[in-house]
């Protein structure tokens, strides 16, 4: 299984994502520039965190006009795995692969800390290695992580079990329905604000992000 980590101008969690796959999971992973037009040969693509184009205008708004974006859409359409974390999640909503939008945090402040998430759906290719309703501790670091969608969209998300991760105990940003991560209807596109790649080594404070990587890699082997 071969994984692409897309590098946009202003991406800065690209290294972390690469290292999580490469050094920790010993997986086959490559950086791909936003200027490329094709993702042929890859089985999964990751849009990492950071501040693409400075997040000027709106988070993720300018990145979605990059050359690479049609190729990301194509992978999603073909049922391959697409993961967006933090800025990557914001880009996925801006490009319409996931519904809703991410607003400024209710506190109006950037927030960096480790929060508790509840795993709500273990049937996606990203979460099979978690227990149903498992509580996990994953770091967040964002200024615009407040998930918003209209009522009917939220209802649909809930009915289809598209809410994959929910903040547990404390909602750090004002997200509606405490949403921390959602997937598309088919389940092959996941966007989340928390950073699983920051929770893959004990020395850095915990490994609750590892099952996500293991699930993804396992899904690739089975596919």
């Amino acid at each position: 299984m071969k994984i692409a980590v897309v590098v946009f101008p202003g991406s800065n969690c690209d290294i972390d994502m690469y290292e999580a796959f490469h050094t920790v999971c010993k997986a086959d992973v490559e950086y791909v520039s936003y200027k490329e037009k094709s993702l042929d040969g890859f089985d999964a693509v990751v849009l990492p965190g950071g501040f693409s184009y400075g997040d000027y205008l709106r988070t993720g708004a300018i990145a979605r006009f990059s050359n690479i974006i049609p190729a990301v859409k194509k992978m999603a359409d073909e049922g391959k795995l697409v993961l967006g974390v933090c800025n990557g999640f914001q880009i996925l909503t801006e490009m319409g692969l996931l519904p809703g939008a991410l607003k400024k945090n209710d506190s109006l402040q950037f927030v960096c800390k480790t929060v508790t998430l509840e795993v709500e759906n273990t049937h996606t290719p990203f979460t099979t290695e978690y227990e149903d309703k498992e509580l996990i501790r994953i770091p967040i670091a964002h200024g615009d992580g407040s998930y918003y969608a209209d009522e009917d969209v939220l209802e649909e998300l809930e009915n289809n079990h598209q809410v994959v991760f929910r903040y547990h105990g404390e909602n750090p940003n004002g997200s509606l329905h405490d949403i921390a991560g959602i997937c598309n209807k088919e389940g092959n596109v996941l966007g989340m604000m928390p950073h699983p790649e920051r929770a893959v080594e004990e020395i850095l404070g915990g490994t609750d992000g590892l099952p996500l990587f293991k699930s993804l890699l396992k899904a690739g082997v089975q596919a």
Partner: protein, 587 residues
């Protein structure tokens, strides 16, 4: 456009006095250095380059006290940042810088551009920045909504810039004291890591080699920021101030990646590189030419400009952010340009290296400056400063030691914890990304931040410490104590102290009492560094921290870095489990 004054008019009307150049200095320039009257552009360059901020003319004798050599020191003071060997061909690179005046006036942008500036100092050495620390000192918060606003904006400015750059913030300090009511201190420190073989220098050599300008365009931002930083900050100055410098961290991120790409993968094209900090193009180019014992010939019309009709004076003194100056081997200008093109950044050849030691500037087909380059950098008229021990210290020495009368230790403890300086600073640190780059072993809130050196078992520990009140009470002991505090912070996390950087924040050095404090406290710092074998490898001086004639406490900030050979030895600060014994060590 307004016609610039003629050299004769300058002599008569003395506009340079407003730019903090004294009459004595002006006469010295005319009679001993140029043997003629300088023109408008030239006198502007002198006033910026001879400011304390660029020339250290007041503080130089004091800086000489610092030990700067050591077994592990690869590069001491004199370059963008200090470089210290951490074995295996690797080095840790660090420096601290103050941005006190801009932050006092415009907290958000002042803090943001303070962080941006110190990052450029580190990556221009060829190091990848891996951590930021920030030392913040505000006035009293109680019943002061303006100070609260300034604090919030300062923190946001530090956070937004570092977060966007993707460099974790590993620590710092936040204190509150009425002495900073009219003059906030923002000291930012940056730590980078590199392979020693990749080290770059800020020099320009080789006749015919190109001087290339890269990064953001030049506008009329912060003109005379350097002299502004060197003058007493009073209400009067607030209205004279020129446009605020605005930070663009996205641009800086691109600039950093492009410069590192050039340095790490194409170093054979590059002769030297330096960031444009205080006094913009003039200070970077004149310093590079001086370092390389060269001359330089620049055409200012080639400088990328954001605004129309900028004068030579404005182009040279602008402090627009996110710019760097390179010296590139002749014939490789296009190669270098291609790298910067990839990142959508300007890269323009604005001049050439010469061998006659002259600093020649062309603008609109005229020569607007033609002077020996060393007159700007090395011929600065040194000033002897008067010193006097303050009466309050003499009085204190003669009075009996004060004994606190504590009736309820519990209440005193509660009162202490209630002080904003001592209270939990999560409010600040949660606004900073402290984990990006996934190397953070210990983040903010501990004695020191600890960072893994990726792909090794090594880790580095870092801390900043300032204790203005203590230094005010006893400058020498206060200086020693500040270094010791840093060292104990480093040791407490399991690391061996390596070296320090500093920011020397003081009031007006023309006041003999303040100069005495500066001298004494630096002696204290030097003594402690000597004993602990932690040489000073970089630093920065910020004088004239006054508001309406009232100086801040003498507030030297120490930034220390230590080495941990095996990160399994990192010791966390928190209590581990019930039943563990507690020891008090020392005497």
């Amino acid at each position: 456009m307004k016609q610039a004054m003629t050299p004769e008019e300058i002599k008569e009307k003395k506009p340079y006095l407003d730019w903090s150049l004294s009459e004595r200095e002006y006469d010295y320039i005319c009679d001993h250095l140029l043997h003629r009257l300088p023109n408008y552009t030239e006198i502007g360059l002198f006033s910026a380059m001879w400011s304390e901020h660029c020339s250290y003319k007041k503080s130089k004798p004091v800086l000489k006290l610092f030990p700067t050599k050591g077994k592990r020191v690869v590069q001491g003071p004199g370059e963008g940042a200090g470089v210290v060997d951490i074995d295996d061909g690797q080095a840790v690179v660090f420096k601290a810088e103050s941005h006190n005046h801009p932050t006092t006036v415009e907290p958000y942008q002042g803090a943001a551009t303070g962080v941006g500036g110190i990052l450029r100092d580190v990556f221009s050495m060829g190091a990848r920045p891996v951590a930021i620390l920030d030392s913040l000192h505000f006035g009293e918060l109680k019943n002061n909504s303006t100070m609260r606003y300034k604090m919030e904006e300062t923190i946001k400015g530090v956070g937004d810039y570092g977060n966007c750059m993707g460099i974790p913030n590993l620590g710092g300090e936040t204190t509150f004291d009425p002495c900073y009511n009219g003059n906030i201190l923002l000291n930012a420190m940056n730590v980078g890591i590199m392979d020693i073989k990749d080290m770059e220098h800020g020099d320009a050599t080789g006749v015919g080699n190109a001087v290339m300008y890269v990064g953001a365009k030049t506008g009329r931002d912060g003109i005379h920021g350097a002299t502004f930083a060197s003058a007493d900050f009073s209400e009067e100055h607030a209205t004279q101030r020129s446009a605020v410098q605005v930070g663009d961290p996205f641009m800086e991120k691109l600039l950093m990646e492009a410069c590192l790409e050039l340095i790490l993968n194409h170093r054979e094209w590059l002769v030297g590189i330096q960031d444009m900090g205080a006094a913009g193009i003039v200070s970077s180019s004149a310093e590079m030419a001086t370092e390389g014992k060269s001359g330089m010939d620049l055409n200012l019309n080639l400088v990328p400009q954001r605004e129309p009709n900028m004068s030579a004076y404005e182009i040279m003194l602008s402090e627009s952010q996110e710019r760097m100056l390179l010296c590139v081997k002749k014939g490789h200008e296009e190669d270098v340009k291609k790298i910067f093109d990839e990142f959508n950044l300007d890269a323009v050849t604005i001049g050439r290296i010469t061998d006659d030691g002259r600093y020649v500037l062309h603008h609109d087909d005229q020569v607007v400056c033609d002077i020996p380059v060393v007159t700007l950098t090395e011929k600065v008229l040194e000033e002897k400063s008067a010193e006097k021990k303050p009466q309050r210290i003499i009085d204190a020495e003669q009075s009996e030691n004060w004994q606190p009368n504590i009736e309820s230790a519990g209440q005193t403890l509660k009162d202490l914890l209630n002080q904003p300086t001592i209270a939990n600073d999560q409010f600040v640190t949660q606004q900073y990304d402290s984990q990006v780059r996934t190397d953070t072993i210990v983040g903010p809130g501990s004695d020191s931040g600890v960072l893994r050196v990726r792909h090794t078992k090594k880790a580095i520990a870092m801390t900043t410490d300032t204790n203005g009140r203590f230094v005010y009470l006893d400058p020498k002991v206060g200086g020693q104590r500040t270094v010791l505090e840093s060292a104990t912070n480093i040791v407490a996390s399991g690391a061996q102290p390596l070296a320090i950087t500093d920011c020397l924040n003081y009031g007006d050095p023309n006041d003999p009492e303040i100069f005495w404090e500066l001298h004494q406290s630096c002696q204290g710092i030097a003594d402690a560094c000597e004993i602990l074998e932690t040489p000073v490898v970089s630093g920065n001086v910020s004088l004239y921290n006054e508001n309406n004639g009232k100086a801040i406490y003498p507030s030297p900030m120490i930034g220390m870095v230590g080495l941990i050979k095996d990160y399994d030895h990192v010791i966390p600060m928190h209590m581990q489990k019930a039943g563990d014994k507690i020891y008090l060590v020392g005497k």
